[in-house]
Amino acid sequence: MENKKKITVAVTGLNAVDSPGPGVAVARGVRELEGYDVRVIGLSYEALEPGIYMEGIADKTYQIPYPSAGSESLMTRLEYIQEQEKIDVLIPNFDAELYNFIKLSPKLKEMGINTYMPTTEQFEARDKVNLYAFCQKHGFYVPRDKTIYNASELPAVAAHFNYPLVVKGKYYEAVVCQTLDQAQKAFHKLEAKWGLPIIVQEYISGTEINVAALGDGHGETVSAVPMRKLFITDKGKAWAGVTLEDSRLVKLAKDFIKVTNWRGGFELELMVTTDGRPYFMEINPRFPAWIYLTVGAGQNQPAALVRLAMGEKVKPYETYEVGKTFIRYSWDMIIDIEQFQHFSAFGEN
């Protein structure tokens, strides 16, 4: 029998809901890490995140404080968890939590927890408010945008971009607006939900394509897999998607990694116009929720990230299966109320 090395990997983002976090998909990929006996530790914010209770995802889950509580309270919690679990690798999966984890990464390393995340500079360069300048600097197509702090700025911006235009929240959500009235409503809704600033963006018509990729931190691409959404929910999330054969899209991800020396996983959200120009709509600094499709297509990005975090040399993937399709589904799990109560009361299961 093969003597497998034991490894413990912690993941966040177990909220496999209608607007899912990537944690469950990342955990599935990590569990298929060859040559290792993998134990997965879930880190959740809420007691009702489905990944806590799903079979075969997390061996044990701990509740952690919301990012807004700050890095100190996160560190205190992680110190406790590390005493119990001896985590080898931690993979954060939310944009909003990344800043705290990046800040803590040297301390985590001292505790024996390896990570593979972008640097603060890389993280901030692709932020929504900096996206236009970033893409202009590196010669990527990008819609024009304007960052605003007051709804009174909208008429001037709209006159510049014309309708339709896109009003985007600081962290999440985007609303396509056809009139000033719609834009003002979207501004106030997104301000109330995510705070200021608000980004107003030129509308680009085309086909939405996403690329999930992994950079080694030295300008080399370990993996890049393009996907077209086949079914999109009312929240704009992919509920089904298919891998594509398009070397231009893979090259785009490679170019992005080369100019940034990107370290870790990321997702390019592109709008490809009918004449074939790929516009950068967003760059997400972590794996997307559909990351398990890369595993299905033959490039296990979460497992490759674990190897990189452990200091192993990872050979870049060269091929993947085109036409591999994922279809997400919802499923009613039945659990005993005691399981939920236990997690709510003790913050671990």
């Binding site: 394509i209 594509l244 054969e245 398009d246 036409g323």
Partner: protein, 83 residues
């Protein structure tokens, strides 16, 4: 006129364009045309094959064939550089 070489066609007439993810269902005649195009048959050869197989006037085949080729082009399924 040539169909893109990477277009996948199943026996049931399902077309998949791996470059942009578009997919289409085609009927029997359309599937025959695409299969013959993938075998690098010329327009005349394809029309002759259709005439031999189906009980239809030549003029109808001419018109339907041209319309179908137009439709393939509109959906980015034709090669523009002979590939």
């Amino acid at each position: 006129m040539k169909i893109l070489t990477n277009i996948a066609v199943s026996e049931s007439g399902y077309l998949f364009n791996p470059t942009n993810g578009d997919s289409f269902s085609s009927n029997l005649v359309a599937t025959d045309i695409i299969t013959l195009m993938k075998q690098n048959k010329t327009s005349d050869e394809i029309k002759k094959a259709l005439h031999a197989k189906y009980d239809v006037e030549k003029s109808t085949i001419e018109r339907d064939y041209d319309e179908f080729i137009q439709e393939l082009g509109d959906n980015y399924l034709l090669s523009t550089d002979g590939k």
